[in-house]
């Protein structure tokens, strides 16, 4: 029983991590029709900005050091993502394939740049000690970082929902995901919404980078790319452009991975996720969800 609880909570933690990356991917594709292969780079930028800031703040105590590092990571992610949209994506307006290709190039270039500056090896990240400890629930010892991940994902989901439902830009984005042309036909310049959506995606991915650093205790240049693949799988299963679908499928994927890895055999978890994707796509090519938000 306690094993099951452990697997479930850690599975949810993993799902939370996936959701943080996948949410941005889903929004960007839903509104702009762009498969953002540079999304992993947003994560990497956020993760390294955090580590770099921490490494420069050696004089102060752990908690503020960690928080400032995390803040730096989030800001870096948002700014980087917004710049990418303005400089690389916006000029290619309506040329979706070229936009996708550009993100491919950017993803490769960013990872290479990070490796160039800081090398391929993982670097340790500083985090408050209690994150590394465990809390016991129903007999299961859950690492505390999982709770933070789950809370972060829930907060992001609620915040995004509120943003989409209650603000004008949220309204524009919801409408744009349905019919981008008609939004422009109402006199609205959707391109600003595009930049905003990229920035939001950048923050969420950077948050995944920061919390990923905590989860793995290290920062590492290849993490963005490997998590990106899972993020794509999550987004496609849940239905491209559907925030609720992404949340649901992130939970399912995280849980399936944990359960399969334990109850079947180690490594089978990843395979079963891939199998799940194949099954879902063959049954419903549009993913599991059809509507947005």
């Amino acid at each position: 029983m306690s094993t099951f609880v452990l697997l479930t909570i850690t599975g949810l933690g993993l799902g939370a991590l996936y959701f943080l990356i996948a949410s941005g991917l889903s929004l960007i594709y839903g509104l702009m029709g762009v498969l953002n292969f540079a999304h992993g780079a947003f994560l990497t930028v956020g993760a390294y900005a955090m580590w770099f800031t921490e490494s420069k703040l050696t004089g102060i105590s752990v908690l503020p050091r960690f928080l400032l590092g995390a803040l730096a990571g989030l800001v870096a992610g948002a700014v980087f993502a917004a710049l990418v949209e303005l400089v690389l994506i916006r000029p290619l307006y309506k040329r979706h394939i070229e936009q996708v290709l550009v993100t491919v190039g950017l993803g490769l270039a960013t990872t290479a740049l990070v490796v160039a500056i800081w090398g391929n090896d993982a670097r340790t990240v500083v985090a408050p000690a209690w994150l590394g400890k465990t809390t016991t629930v129903f007999g299961a010892n859950i690492p505390n970082d999982r709770w933070i991940l789950i809370i972060a994902a829930v907060v992001v989901l609620l915040a995004l929902n509120a943003f989409l439902k209650r603000t004008r830009y949220g309204l524009i984005i919801r409408a744009g995901v349905e019919n981008r042309a008609m939004v422009t036909a109402l006199g609205i310049d959707v391109r600003r919404a595009f930049t905003l959506v990229f920035a939001i995606g950048g923050v969420a991915a950077a948050l995944a980078g920061v919390l990923g650093n905590v989860y793995f205790s290290t920062v590492d240049p290849s993490r963005g790319t490997s998590l990106l693949i899972f993020a794509f799988i999550v987004v496609v299963i849940g239905g491209l452009g559907s925030l609720r679908g992404t949340a649901g499928s992130a939970v399912v994927v995280g849980l399936v991975q944990q359960y399969a890895n334990y109850y079947a055999s180690s490594g089978l978890g990843d395979l079963s996720v891939v199998l799940l994707l194949g099954l879902v796509l063959l049954a419903r090519p549009g993913g599991l969800s059809r509507s947005f938000a």
Binding site: L171, E178, N179, A181, M182, T184, A185, D189, V190, F292
Partner: protein, 232 residues
Amino acid sequence: MSALLSVSDLHVYLGESHILQGIDFDVAEGGVTALLGRNGVGKTTTLRALMGLVDRRGRITLTGEDVTATPTHKIVRRGVGYVPEDRDVFAGLTVDENLRLAERDTEPRYELVYDLFPELKQRGKQLAGTLSGGQQQMVAIGRALLNDNRLLLVDEPTKGLAPLLVAEVARVLERVAELATVLLVEQNLGVVRRVARDAVVLDTGRVVHVGPAQELLADKPMVHRMLGVGHA
């Protein structure tokens, strides 16, 4: 009468097809100008070209200014409202949200819209995707009226509607024509007869007739030849 809208040598290609092959016409200010023609001659494409929703070549002048290269949202901001052929209301948004999205001016004309379409006020919180065709048409027209637009481009507003609703739409169009200039694409000649002052007829991507609407409609052989309805 000055021309509110002036179209000159308009060409549009969709893929390999040369849909509009040099369209020339003017729309005078005030009243309804009907854009007529058989199915597939390019009426909807003309409206989309005026809106900047398809790539176009030629010259389009709106209130004296050249808008040929202007992007869609800027054209709309010059006071153009668009009611597309398939209504294109946002199904996932409520009626209220659909209208709110369309707000541009500092004082959107909600009283006017609710006066014309009281149902929209009642069904404010209803998802637009669950509305009937007629109700969606109300949303589509309503949001074009919310702002003080000088020109309304309306594409087949009575398509797929029951006769009672068709009459309703015609009544609305009459009222709207008092407030703005309307370029109306319509297959229902009864509606055209009721509201239109001028008519522009298209055939395979070109303008083949321009003149007062009533004259055209009274000429049965011409109606048959150009619009494919009735008998010679």
